[in-house]
Amino acid sequence: MRRALAFAWLRLRREPGRMLLGVIGVTAIGALLFDMLLLSNGLLVSFRERLDRSGFDVRVIASESAVIAGPPIDHVSAKLTELGRKPSIAAVQRVRVASADVADHPSTRHLAVAGVDLGAPVPWTLLEGAPPNAQASPAPLVINRNFARTFHLTVGSPVVLNGRCGDASRPLPLDATVAGVAEFQNDAADALTAATSSQAVAALCGERGDLADMLLVQSNPAAGGPDAAAAAIRAAFPALHALTNEQIVERFSRVEFSYFRQLSSVLTTVTLFFGLLLITVLLTVSVNQQLGEIAALRALGLSRARVMAGVLCESALFIGLGGIAAVPIGGLLSRWLDAILRSMPGIPADARFFVFTLHALEVHAALLVIGAVLAAVYPMRLVATLPIAATLRREVVS
């Protein structure tokens, strides 16, 4: 096999231009294939990483529908008190989201304002300023960078918010002071996000009910972790839906991510099919041009298996060289494609569609090996069934 490989290398080197073009073609197709493998799981991996980084491993919502968009959870304070007593739960946080405008600014850019218990673990990472004090007056506001930049705010700046809730804004505006600038999870690149106390958000919309759109739970690893925490919540409140991070990822995979997975599968299949077709044609034309040589080699005594191995090695070299080059090229290409997809509205700024995993590389390598063999099947058959005498005769006549 080593001789066959060395021979195939010499044969390819004989026509360097042709070899280069073939390898470039394989590289382009291989890069696309590699990227589709990265896409098949990338967003899921990215989503899982972000969920795990948030510090909360169970989320509780009122219905099976999409988070935040479904009905709110009521009697939240009582529920928080009861959940706080569970040994499998380390901490619980409530989140109530409202929409608002900044007073005296055009109302085309609405803000998302999250109301939380400021004394509990919070779902953001403070970049500037100090943790907000729930007792402070005016209400403390933590804002994201985009908000600060858009409205020229810094820590200490006063802000007046008008709630956009239900059928009318709250008649009296809400005075607030910027307590800090933070990074919020799941923020889109152009999102205007703020957070304050749950009382302030309730006041923003004139709400009297004790409501939350979602509860965020930190489980106690020593008492069974997230599965135990979720089970305890379901036992205490059967009407609520408690989802561990793993379950959210699974749901995301089944629903929101389904399109990209399907797209990845379809494009992988189509890319492989046409790549194989192109390489098979290239190899077949190459073999057809060398039939005289091959017949002469067979006449000299090279066995059928030997000349077939030569074709297989040629295929392996094309695909091997192109496939190896495809990995870094695919990596670069994936950045471009990732940038395109991340420009979709509502996509969190730190989400990644194309994430490198060892599994993707393994699948890429396996597909290339299978591809090299399949692409060589027809040309190998040509050389295996080559009639030596007739070919030699034909070569002489031609």
């Binding site: 005289g292 040589e293 006449a299 000299l300 005594g301 059928r304 030997r306 030699l392 002489v396």
Partner: protein, 231 residues
């Protein structure tokens, strides 16, 4: 009684074409003794090359049998016939069929490598063969850099790589001018003098005349055999 290097016993070869069957050989018998020099002559289409292909185990007869060193090749598998060609038979073609991406040296070395000869032995043998054919100085040149005669000499060296007992040549001087052809023919004389059995298919009467036995064919049959008095 010595065993013939190769013997064809009443071989026939029929090619089935769309326009109808072509009987290229009809019951031809020919045996070649070790060290014998046989030429096969005849008009185009008389079956000379077909006979050579059968003797060289490149093709199989429709009827009859071919024995190489007393082994009926029809009983052998394709890989066994390949092995036979690699070690026992050398082939020289009209169009040389040298591998263009290999140098003269590498072309001669190729069959030895396939036969599993060690590197040291291959080096020694290749040097000897290129010297034998007078091309030591052109060993590193590719076929595109050689003249027709030089290419044919490399092809002959390649055919002799594994010390075959039989060399088959199909119109070896067909693509060469007269002077170059004469060089090749002289080489064949030397080979034969050194003990290699030769079967040469040729149109050229001067080439044919060098053989100790000449076989004339017509319409797929041997019509005349002439033995040159002693050689």
């Amino acid at each position: 009684m010595t065993v013939p290097v190769v013997a064809a016993n009443a071989v026939s070869r029929t090619f089935v074409m769309p326009a109808g069957a072509v009987h290229a050989l009809r019951g031809v018998s020919l045996s070649v003794q070790p060290g014998e020099y046989v030429s096969v002559v005849g008009p185009s289409g008389c079956g000379k090359s077909t006979l050579l292909h059968l003797l060289g185990c490149i093709d199989v007869p429709t009827a009859g049998s071919v024995l190489v060193d007393d082994i009926d090749v029809s009983t052998l598998s394709d890989s066994a016939r390949s092995a036979l060609r690699l070690r026992r038979i050398g082939f020289v073609f009209q169009r040389f069929f040298l591998l263009p991406m290999l140098s003269a040296w590498e072309n001669v070395e190729l069959p030895q490598a396939e036969a599993g000869v060690s590197r040291a032995e291959r080096r020694q043998r290749t040097r000897e063969l290129l010297e034998y054919v007078g091309l030591s100085a052109r060993a590193s040149h590719r076929p595109a850099e050689l003249s027709g005669g030089e290419m044919q000499r490399v092809a002959i060296a390649r055919a002799l790589a594994n010390r075959p007992g039989l060399l088959l040549a199909d119109e070896p001087t067909g693509e060469l001018d007269q002077a170059t052809g004469a060089q090749i023919v002289s080489l064949f004389d030397r080979l034969n003098a050194d003990g290699t059995a030769l079967v040469v298919v040729t149109h050229d009467p001067e080439v044919a005349a060098r053989a100790s036995r000449s076989v004339r064919m017509r319409d797929g049959e041997i019509v005349e055999e002439t033995t040159r008095p002693c050689c």
